[in-house]
């Protein structure tokens, strides 16, 4: 552990040059920009910058790309909060409470909470990487298909089971999400599923396009119907509000620590940042004292997913470097970059490429601190956008949404999909169907399915493989417990209620 600290100091000596600081600032700024624009997320941003890095030194190249990634993670929360349009898949969960806060005129507050907790989560993730790099890498190797499945199941059940809403409507939303998620090529059988011989459906339905439609366009339709005024308009913008919010942050220490723990866990076991943010939100809603306020503009509902998102994003760099496991779409692109720069991800990278690995880890500290500062600096600017009249901002949102939907795969077809999902999002909201379970089912549905079917291939069709060792056994059991929680709680509640009724009746008799 101490030798890791030595290495980190060495890393800072690599990262702390004027050139690298310039790359970090430039990368973070660009990242915030691509993060803010829905569709043009971190993976696209990193892909666009990749050719630029061919002529660079590998350590400078990775510093630039990772800084862009941090920036995009920060920027992705901005539109989630202001307009209910997640800029990144991993900031979907931020909309649940961030957007209601903005509508109450507390946009500055919500953005500040988001950025500060994100920065906190990122730091926790990096500290874990710094101190535990070796142990964590060998732990990640224990994850085979059954363990993957159990992790997805756990993320899934901790979000679903602790949610509110009508069970039947939740189940319908889930089923729709699984259905949309399975379109395209199936990894295990290689067959095309639900493509109806439409060439554009071969690549499946992009989760980003769905989110842009459901949240962005769907919300816009609702706003138009309810009267063309943006309720956040009366929010006053006071830069001092940022400081006041920052002073309130320590109050939420429990939520931040919990979110970071969930995030680090999901970053190392390759559940990914998106699943981490959903899981953290679900657990926070259950555990928090303010749980009943979730969904109505509760600061903790912003803090929980944001800390988890960023700690997962940073922690996922470790399995990427030491094992070559891409934890997210963005790190998959970076892995490709590594190969082009002439590096092979693997355990030896830490031994042989000392400058590269530790220079990058040191730059993660710098990048995230710079990221928080730059992101906070944009708050007044972005919050001011809410006071622009809807007649101007509305069309801009439509344009941004559609451009974003097009950018995902450069396909005109996706524009129609986005519009279609916009109408669907509007109808689902009108009929009171929850959107979040559908989105979550799309995100982890097909990965969970692959993992389950791989497990079944390994075990010759026996489900007992999900309890074949302590790790997977514990994960599966906890996941099932969470999943059955509503039923258990209902039974307990009924007994308590009947006991209370009996007591009341007895009291009545006594009187």
């Amino acid at each position: 552990m101490l030798s890791n600290l030595d290495s980190l100091m060495h890393g800072f000596s690599v990262a702390l040059t004027a050139y690298h600081i310039m790359l970090i600032v430039g990368g973070v700024l660009l990242g915030i920009l691509v993060g803010v624009l829905p569709g043009l997320g971190a993976p696209n941003g990193v892909t666009l910058l990749l050719p630029l890095t061919f002529t660079m030194d590998p350590v400078s190249a990775i510093i630039l790309l990772t800084s862009l990634y941090w920036g995009a993670l920060f920027g992705g929360s901005t539109t989630s909060i202001l307009f209910n349009i997640p800029g990144e898949p991993s900031s979907v969960a931020t909309t649940f409470d961030g957007y209601p806060l903005a509508r109450q005129g507390r946009a500055t507050e919500a953005l500040t909470y988001a950025f500060l907790s994100a920065g906190f989560g990122a730091l926790v993730g990096i500290i874990v990487i710094t101190l535990l790099s070796t142990a964590v890498a060998s732990f990640a190797l224990r994850f085979g298909p059954p363990e993957y499945f159990a992790v997805y199941l756990l993320a899934f059940s901790s979000f679903i089971a602790f949610g509110g809403g009508t069970p039947l409507k939740t189940i319908i939303a889930l089923a729709l999400g699984f259905g949309f998620g399975m379109m395209g090529t199936d990894t295990v059988s290689g067959a095309m599923r639900l493509t109806f011989d439409v060439p554009d459906l071969i690549r499946g339905i992009s989760f980003l396009v769905v989110v842009i439609g459901l949240f962005g366009l769907g919300e816009l339709l609702l706003t138009i119907e309810e009267g063309p005024e943006f309720k956040g308009a009366n929010g006053r913008i006071d830069p001092r509000e940022i400081l006041r919010t920052a002073a309130r942050m320590p109050r939420y220490w429990a939520a931040m620590l919990r979110g970071s723990a969930v995030g680090v866990w999901m970053g190392i076991t390759p559940g990914g940042p998106t699943a981490a943010s959903f899981m953290s939100y679900g657990i926070a809603r259950r555990v928090s004292r303010n749980g009943a306020n979730f969904g109505k503009g509760e600061p903790e509902g912003v803090i929980a997913p944001e800390t988890a998102d960023h700690s997962a994003g940073t922690a996922a760099m470790l399995p990427m470097l030491s094992l070559g496991i891409p934890g997210s779409a963005t790190s998959a692109v970076m892995l490709g970059g590594l190969m082009i720069w002439g590096l092979n991800p693997g355990p030896m990278l830490f031994v042989e490429q000392h400058d590269f690995v530790w220079g990058m880890i040191a730059s993660m500290y710098l990048g995230n601190v710079i990221g928080v500062v730059l992101a906070l600096a944009t708050v007044p600017l972005f919050a001011a956008m809410l006071s622009v009249s809807f007649a101007i901002i509305g069309p801009i949102i439509v344009t941004v949404c559609l451009v974003g939907a097009y950018t995902v795969a450069n396909a005109g077809f996706d524009l129609w999909l986005a519009v279609l999902f916009g109408v669907m999002g509007y109808m689902m909201k009108k009929l009171d169907y929850p959107l979040a379970p559908m989105v979550l089912a799309m995100v982890i549905g097909d990965k969970a399915e692959d993992a389950f079917r791989q497990s079944m291939l390994l075990s010759n069709g026996s489900v007992t493989i999900l309890w074949s060792n302590w790790l997977v056994g514990t994960l599966t059991s906890i996941a099932l417990l969470f999943l059955l929680w509503p039923v258990v709680a209902m039974l307990l509640g009924r007994r308590r209620a009947s006991r209370a009724a009996m007591a009341a009746a007895r009291q009545g008799e006594a009187v």
Binding site: P51, G144, I202, I325, A332, V333, N344, L457
Partner: protein
């Protein structure tokens, strides 16, 4: 108006096309060209195309800029469907592997490899049989014997379904008369990590997909699917180089040779002049130090094929693969 302007444009095009017709190879791209990659960002084909892009940029081989787009949906079907739709467009260059002819066998598609305009094959990626570092299997024969004793008990992982890895596993099964359990993962990298974690018994990764794991003493190569061992080079681990790995045939695994070509195509009906231009360009790329470095680092075999040679290679490979697909019942048409 519109019709007229279109007609005028067409006239202009034929004019400009016929003017330099005397020298066929003088076609040159005049606007940004697109490299269509039939894999996701970070995949093997992506690294291939981007290495070519980097070499072009470094040596200023093209007067226009290059945009790389990833169209890896449906194991690469998306990229070919896109290329097929760009009929006759010489500014779209499709990067792939043997998936150009294996995909149309496995799934219903709207193209056949004969429709595409072949430009070049730049290298062949090798396949090896890998086991975990502390695996009891010392040679390919050990693995085969284990599978013979208990059919289906040996689990081999690979990238995707009905793709190169599973085809190779099917070849081994047929040649040795045994049965393995094949586990499809999303990519070779994942199959490598799963092997290192001991979740599968073996995989058939390309050298570049597992070099990190080999150097880190997580996995080790048992044999290479090649007629001769790989050419001598630097040591990869403390004690061994790629050339120290024996051929599979010498270990009692009767699959002499198996490899994956890295191919480049133009859309159907692209002009011959453009085809010649691109073939010539990629030939020059194959001579750059960047390309040689890439081929060496990823332990591929550099071999440049174009024109009739490439067509013959495709015909032969397609015939051999179809045989396996038919025998395994994988064909969809």
């Amino acid at each position: 108006m519109k019709v007229m302007s279109r007609a005028a444009l067409a006239a202009g095009l034929t004019l400009s096309a016929s003017l330099p017709a005397m020298a066929q190879a003088t076609w040159q791209p005049t606007r940004p060209v697109e490299f269509v990659v039939t894999s996701g960002a970070g995949g093997g084909t992506d690294v291939f195309a981007r290495t070519v892009q980097a070499a072009i940029a470094k040596h200023d081989l093209l007067p226009v800029s290059v945009v790389v787009t990833n169209k890896g949906g449906g194991s690469g079907v998306e990229g070919y469907v896109y290329g097929r739709g760009a009929q006759g467009d010489p500014n779209k260059v499709i990067f792939g592997t043997n998936n150009a002819w294996t995909l149309p066998m496995a799934v219903r598609t709207n193209w056949q490899v004969q429709d595409l305009t072949p430009v070049a094959t730049m290298a062949f990626d090798e396949f090896m049989l890998w086991v975990k570092q502390d695996s009891p299997y010392r040679s390919a024969a050990d693995l085969i014997n284990a599978a013979r004793e208990k059919p289906g008990s040996v689990r081999i992982g690979g990238s995707q379904t009905r793709d190169t890895d599973q085809t190779l596993v099917a070849l081994i099964q047929r040649a040795a008369g045994v049965r393995f359990t094949y586990i499809p993962y999303r990519g070779g990298g994942e199959a490598g990590v799963q092997l290192a974690g001991g979740h599968i018994d073996a995989n058939t990764n390309n050298p570049s997909e597992s070099i990190g794991g080999w150097r880190g003493s997580q996995v080790r190569p048992v044999c290479v699917f090649r007629r001769e061992p790989l050419p001598a080079g630097d040591r990869v681990t403390e004690t061994q180089a790629w050339s120290d790995i024996p051929t599979c045939a010498s270990q009692g695994l009767p699959v002499d040779e198996y490899r994956m070509p890295r191919t480049i195509f133009l859309p159907p009906g692209a002009p011959a002049a453009a085809q010649a231009f691109w073939t010539d360009l990629f030939r020059r790329v194959s001579e750059t130090p960047e390309w040689k470095d890439y081929v060496q680092r990823t332990s591929q075999s550099a071999r440049f094929l174009a024109g009739d040679e490439m067509r013959a290679m495709i015909r032969e490979e397609e015939r051999a693969t179809r045989e396996i697909f038919v025998a395994e019942g994988w064909t969809s048409n």
